[in-house]
């Protein structure tokens, strides 16, 4: 397991959503997302994560060196809309409520992790990787106003975290998920030896299933057509 580099050939790219719901997805969309990525599809609007991305980026800057978060790193995003600025201010407050007293350094972000043994990349924001001043490793998953019935942390999140932090957190890991708006928090301390082995096995099985379904490639018109970047050429939508 390692971070990808620019010399890598393009590997199939698997997201948490694929691991969760590939069986229910349109297989044509799945195939294209896995094998080509959205970068080869129609242009999609991309502002839905503007505030959460900004909070994560500023939180990273706020603890780029070991110590408590520097509040001055949270800069009002004047380029965003007034409503987004209101949300940002509330999220910043929530973040500092949750982590303001914690002395740590936040490592560089990781968006993709190559799994050579499976021949794929796991792709998504891993969260904030905080290295605490006692040497502890804390993975922070930040949510900004999720639905009240949404789980903060589910078994898929945990398995992905366990596999993707293997080098960064080999002996100890605490996973903390916080909704900084709703002030909900979930903490999980895995038994690394046992749970990491199970996570590898589960992800290996799921990746095999995702690749099998993607190889089928048949389109299904329905829920996945919303936001699909690959409508052009789809036989379900000759238009």
């Amino acid at each position: 397991m390692r971070a990808p580099n620019e010399n890598d050939e393009e590997l199939p790219r698997i997201t948490p959503a694929h691991l969760r719901r590939a069986d229910d997805m349109c297989r044509r969309r799945l195939a294209r997302e896995v094998n080509g990525g959205k970068r080869h599809g129609n242009q999609a609007g991309d502002m839905r994560f503007a505030v959460s991305n900004r909070i994560e980026a500023d939180a990273r800057l706020a603890q780029s060196e070991l110590g408590p978060p520097r509040t001055e790193a949270f800069v009002e995003p004047r380029d965003l809309e007034p409503e987004q600025q209101r949300l940002y201010r509330a999220a910043q407050r929530g973040y500092l409520d949750a982590f303001g007293a914690s002395s740590a350094r936040i490592a560089e972000p990781e968006w993709r992790t190559t799994l050579p043994e499976l021949g794929v990349e796991l792709s998504s924001s891993l969260g904030l990787r905080a290295e605490l001043d006692d040497g502890g490793r804390e993975l922070r998953k930040i949510l900004v106003g999720a639905r009240h019935d949404a789980k903060l942390l589910d078994p898929v999140d945990v398995r992905i975290a366990l596999v993707r932090t293997e080098e960064w957190a080999p002996v100890q890991l605490e996973i903390v998920a916080v909704d900084v708006i709703e002030q909900r928090r979930a903490t999980y301390v895995p038994d690394l030896d046992a749970e990491r082995a199970e996570a590898h096995e589960w992800i290996g099985e799921r990746v095999a299933r995702v690749l099998e379904l993607a190889a089928d490639g048949r389109p299904v018109a329905g829920r996945d057509c919303q936001g699909c970047a690959f409508i052009s050429g789809c036989q379900k939508h000759p238009g």
Binding site: R48, T71, V75, E81, R89, R223, Q226, I231
Partner: protein, 267 residues
């Protein structure tokens, strides 16, 4: 922010986001494009979700007219309450299951509009679809209040009708859309909507026109009318709100001192 930076090449239309756009462009902007969490409380949808789920389960394994079966399903899920029982009974009075050739529940439909531009993709989840008497009879279960007399007055229904039309046409069926109000306080459903070819063309052109309006947006200006704003889930934070206030986000009701947490503007 200008539309061209926010809209996808193929604009997604759903019943709820089209309803939002017809109500207020800024509401559509905050919810569908910016994906902001609500800043103000909205009526809970919990009971509605439960009833929808139970109606699906009841029909998958049996009949809504079978009281024993209904009681078993509700009990098995721990929600055998008088309110839910009454809602299911009200549905059973209108359910066409016994006359239907086939049925499906929670059906996801999608239909693409390519020409004339702009392109859009209409998607919808239909609570139940029954086929009987040459009709594709689509039902949307409602557990809230009723505000209109006819289904064709409901913008969300236009997206549902457009998305469903191909399914009906492919089977040589007429399309009927009915909203079933399950609350005991609602005496009658709004008049159902049976669409012919001309009406479906008119609906397609209406949706296309709405998407064209979206592409013309520069400011996504809100309508700023008190009657609309006072029940809006973004009323506290909306730039154009006629009912501004403090958001109800829990994080803002804690004791931490906001002065210590002030952000600094760029420059």
């Amino acid at each position: 922010m200008a539309a061209k930076r926010l809209l996808s090449d193929i604009v997604s239309l759903t019943p709820s986001n089209y309803e939002a756009f017809t109500r207020c462009p800024r509401l559509f902007y905050c919810s569908a494009l910016l994906g902001l969490p609500a800043s103000d409380p909205a009526p809970s949808t919990d009971q509605g979700l439960i009833v929808h789920d139970m109606l699906r389960k009841i029909h998958v394994d049996g009949e809504c007219h079978d009281r024993e079966h209904v009681a078993d399903v509700l009990a098995a899920h721990g929600i055998d309450t008088p309110t839910v029982r009454e809602m299911v009974a009200r549905h059973a009075n209108r359910c066409p299951a016994r006359a239907a050739e086939s049925a499906a529940h929670e059906v996801d439909v999608a239909r693409f509009h390519r020409l004339p531009p702009p392109m859009f993709m209409a998607t919808a989840r239909i609570d139940a679809v029954w086929i009987h008497d040459g009709i594709l009879d689509a039902r949307d279960y409602k557990t809230g209040g009723r505000f209109v007399d006819r289904v064709d007055e409901i913008p969300a229904a236009h997206v549902q009708a457009y998305a469903l039309a191909d399914k009906a046409r492919a089977r040589g069926l007429r399309l009927r859309l009915r909203y079933e109000y399950l609350q005991p306080e609602v005496d009658e459903d709004p008049e159902s909507w049976e669409l012919d070819g001309d009406e479906l063309e008119r609906v397609e052109e209406e949706l296309r026109g709405a998407v064209e309006q979206m592409w013309q947006q520069e400011e996504w200006r809100g309508i700023a009318e008190i009657e609309t704003c006072r029940t809006c889930r973004y009323r506290s934070i909306c730039r154009d709100s006629a009912a501004p206030g403090e958001p109800a986000w829990p994080v803002l009701s804690t004791d931490s001192d906001p002065d210590e947490r002030e952000t600094r503007p760029v420059g």
